[in-house]
């Protein structure tokens, strides 16, 4: 529920348009009622000999046509504006947390699902809120309209209607909400098995496991299909109940019109009443489906609004410019991700200007957390970190990250041109500077030889480049910022031995004025390093080498 409120709050700027969409929908429905009502009145009147003009009928027809068009147009327009805001909000929110996850790679599958979730929120407005609001507006109208004929009828019919548009969709929604996680899990299991098959095609051949893997896949499929069947049965039941309630409402109105109970003398009125009631029931008989959607949408909303930030995280902040001096000093540093388990305790660390230090330690959060601290993304429990004598928390976040460059195997290459990968949206940078950065990364010759040069497409995840070339591009990107300090987090991980050695050679050729913090798990590529530290038991210990 809270997640829905969060989303509603995000949509507040577009309140006017969203409301207009609902009003259009209500008016369009109103014209439908007028149309059918007039049809009933005219036919009934004609049957008993009362002739009248058809102006209202024609008007209703034209009105319905135009209003329906505008209803569709305005609801979609309002929705897309609201969704845009949601995406940007989500992007900003994710930006804060993703920097924390720099040690771990976020699953692409998870991200695609989140993007799909945002997309599915369009159902929230168009298929759920709008019809529901119009239905709820119709209920009192229905009551008043029937009351003219008979109060008793009004009560009965409105009661059935409310059951149909509130009771049944609510049940459907609750059911869909409960079933949601099961379906998602079953589908994930099917996907995992498919991925295992796809990545293990070689093993499948070699161990003659093709039949075995097929059997497992279809077991998972059957589990998913069973859950889906369950859901469809439930949905059918809900729809049948709603349809049954609708037919009962129509039946009762028909009996009333026939004078079976609660007599009312005016035949034309009775017939008009019947037409209008029948139209109202027919219009909203599909609302249980909206209820079902609501159950799923609620889950999507929760996933999208899930708190991704955690304690101790600093939101980007302004501050003073970065100082010219760039000695990095950390004193009495104490920090950890969990309250009882600090990763550093009272740690002292200095990176002098132009110095190169290697940090060893088993793979894990320890070494990468130092990065988040040094770059001002997290705040230590205790202690200070200063850059050129100025506390890191006082420096403008963006200025800090221009001063300290970061490169790791997670440095992402975007599905864009080489130029855009280097610039990352920065404006006013000359091509010459780009070439200089490429030279330092020893990638310039390669790019010059390409047919499109800087405008060559890099491919998804840098697929058009080899592992080594991609890493060099990421390096060039960092060097373009003219950072004074480089934090290299396992920079050669994921490359084959030869490419690693070449890349290390390039790193060793970098400007000697740049300070380097090399985070690694192996004792290779340490030629230019002045000393090595190991992170062990919350302390940094020097390692002889």
């Amino acid at each position: 529920m809270k997640s829905l409120l969060t989303i509603m709050a995000l949509w507040r700027p577009h309140k006017g348009r969203l409301l207009l969409g609902v009003i259009m929908a209500a008016l369009a429905f109103g014209s439908s009622l007028l149309l059918m009502g007039q049809a009933g009145t005219r036919l009934a009147g004609a049957a008993i000999g009362i002739g009248a003009g058809f102006y209202l009928l024609r008007f209703a027809g034209v009105a319905r046509l135009i209003l329906r068009y505008f209803e569709r147009y305005m609801t979609h327009d309002a929705l897309f504006r609201a969704l845009t805001d949601l995406r940007v909000w989500f992007f900003r929110k994710l930006a804060h947390s993703s920097a924390l996850g720099i040690g771990r790679k976020r699953s692409g599958d998870l991200l695609s699902r989140l993007v799909a979730d945002i997309q599915s929120l369009d159902n929230l407005y168009i298929r759920i809120i709008v019809p529901l609001v119009v239905a709820l507006l119709s209920a009192p109208f229905l009551f008043v309209f029937c009351a003219k004929g008979s109060i008793g009828l009004a009560f009965i019919v409105t009661f059935l209607f409310c059951l149909m548009v509130i009771g049944v969709p609510l049940l459907a929604g609750v059911y869909a909400y409960r079933m949601g996680p099961h379906l998602l899990k079953a589908r994930s299991a099917l996907y995992s098995q498919s991925l295992d098959i796809a990545t293990g095609l070689r093993e499948a051949r070699l161990f003659q496991a093709e039949q075995r893997m097929t059997d497992v896949l279809f077991l998972k499929e059957q589990a998913l299909y069973k859950a889906q069947r369950h859901e469809v049965v439930q949905m059918t039941v809900c729809q049948t109940v709603a349809a049954f309630l609708s037919r009962c409402g129509v039946l009762l109105t028909l009996l009333f019109a026939g004078g079976v109970y609660f007599h009312h003398p005016d035949i034309v009125h009775n017939l008009t009443l019947f037409f209008v009631v029948m139209t109202i029931f027919d219009q909203f008989v599909d609302l249980p489906r909206a209820g079902f959607l609501a159950g799923e949408v609620l889950h999507a909303a929760q996933r999208v609004t899930e708190p991704l930030t955690s304690e101790g995280q600093i939101i980007d902040h302004g501050g003073c410019a970065a100082p010219v001096a760039y000695e990095l000093v950390a004193e009495h540093l104490t920090f950890g991700w969990q309250k009882e388990r600090p990763l550093f305790e009272d740690v002292r660390f200095t990176l002098k200007e132009g110095e190169r230090i290697a940090l060893l330690g088993a793979s894990g959060n320890g070494k990468s957390s130092l990065t988040t601290l040094l770059m001002g993304i997290t705040k230590p429990w205790e202690g200070t970190i200063t850059l050129g004598g100025v506390s890191v928390s006082d420096i403008d976040s963006n200025a800090l990250r221009q001063k300290i460059g970061w490169l790791s195997q997670s440095s992402h290459l975007f599905d864009d041109t080489i130029r855009n990968n280097l610039l990352l949206g920065e404006k006013g940078v000359s091509d010459q500077k780009l070439w200089e950065a490429l030279e330092k990364a020893q990638l310039a010759d390669f790019v010059r030889a390409l047919p499109d040069g800087l405008d060559c497409w890099v491919g998804e995840n840098g697929s058009a480049l080899s592992g080594g070339q991609g890493r060099r591009l990421a390096l060039a990107r960092v060097l373009l910022r003219e950072a004074s300090i480089l934090i290299l987090d396992e920079p050669t991980e994921g490359l084959d031995r030869e490419t690693q050695e070449e890349f290390i050679r390039t790193l060793n050729k970098l400007d000697a004025r740049i300070s380097v913090l090399l985070i690694t798990h192996r004792m290779t590529g340490l030629e230019k390093v002045s000393h090595v530290l190991r992170l062990e038991d919350g302390n940094l210990k020097p390692v002889p080498f």
Binding site: D196, L201, F218, G259, I267, W406, S411, D496
Partner: protein, 563 residues
Amino acid sequence: MVADKKKLKFWVKEQNSLHKKAVYGLVFQGFLNVILGCAQAWFLARALACILDSSMKGFLSFVFWFFAICLLRLGLNVVQDLMAFSAGQKARSRLRRQILAQIFSAGPSLLRTTHSARIAALLVDNVESLEGYFARWLPSSVLWAPAQWFVVVVLYWQNHRAGLILGISCLLLPVFQAVFGIATGRASRKQFLALSRLQRRFLDRLRGLATIVMAGRSEDEAQALAESADELRQRTMKVLRIAFLTSASTDLVMIIALVGIVITESRYLLHTGSVEQAASALFAVFVVPEAFAPFRAFSAAYQDRARATETAEVAVSLPAVETDPAQKMAVSEISAPVTITFDHVWYRWSAERGWVLNDVSFTLSPDEILLLTGPSGAGKSTLLELVLGFIKPGKGQIYFNGQDSMTIAPASLAQTISYLGQKPLLFYGTLKENILFARPDASEEELHSALKAAQLEVVVSQLPNGLETLIGEGGFGLSGGQIQRLAIARAYLKKSSVILMDEPTAHLDRETEQEIILALKPLLKGKTVIIATHSEEFDLFDKAKSLHLLHSNVSNDKEEISA
């Protein structure tokens, strides 16, 4: 491009014809529903006519029949929905089996052209997206026109005037659909590329968000995202505007029919008021929505048609299931020990890419090791895949114990060879299951001797649940070295005569690498071994031949390093 379109059409047609029986069943039920709809409208019309007549003769029985048919329709709808869903599931399951067979037939070489995630997405997401296509679009596409004209004919038979009006409106329908449909198609095609590029950009930026933040560019990216999302909105609205006109034209046709019928019938009724006339007029009015309901269902499902084409595009790129006649005749088996001979073997992936392997020849006897060296892309992995039999030489022959590889049954070849690559497959299961994957019917003793030989016993003792610990995605994380030991255990369990290794220690640090090589030494005794590697550590193997591959150039360096 045209050839592709033909292939797509053919694929879609094939799927449709496999699903034919179910579709006809659903169409029949749909038709029954329409017939009942007409009957329902008739009884309702008669009941209301009774009221207008004030005679109330037979009113209650008409009402009874009306309600009974309503309930019957409810029941029919339930059956229809469940049947449609069940048929849809069957169709999807069948398609999934077909695609899986194609994937297995194409084999590991498929991964060179298609990313594994794409394959998994095809198997799961693409097939599942066809739910609407099989369950709703196919039956409604067949049903709507006959159903609509059936209603027109029935109405005409009952009431000529009204029938004529309805008939004319129904004729207008396809005209409007064609006009606006083409316009919509054109607009969406123009926008489609831009739309999908914008979508992909959003996802791509999300994936690289850490990079963007660490470079201090997140605020600018947020702005750029807002701009591109707004562009997305404008483009989408452009397409939708026209699509809404299409819906409006359907509305228009229905309103023309309704208003036209009400006016003409009312005028007629004024002159000739009678119960039958009134009933006829009312029947005409009630039957109009019945005529358009099947079309409405069809329009609602139109998105599902696009899913079919999308899936077809990916499915068609998979090669058809191989029924190579040469392979069918391959029946001979290989027995240990194995001598491998390459006789002037050439290989290329495609005519444009050129020969990867040029005239490679060597003979490898049992208990001999061949070290394959050379830069990335020189063809080391390709050579290994030739030995594995996943691909066939372009020129030349490969012999196993003197038998041409083309005459050897693929199953026999697979049984004889063990392969250790850089990233062995770990699936979500226990450690035991993962090892036994090599040979599920292995005994406990064999499993334990494999664990011992691969030096996994220490690792097992450190795991929370020992052999029963769940590993793989979402399970306990094993280190690179531990995963390689698992692969070695599998190789031990399989007891094959030939062992191929493709850079097995590439991602390991020197210490772990040395340990792994130690674990490997006993495994390689007496076997025929080919190792592709960069590492100097493997030079420690005595009695190793070496073959150095260069880009499109092979230097046949057969040095015998003496012990």
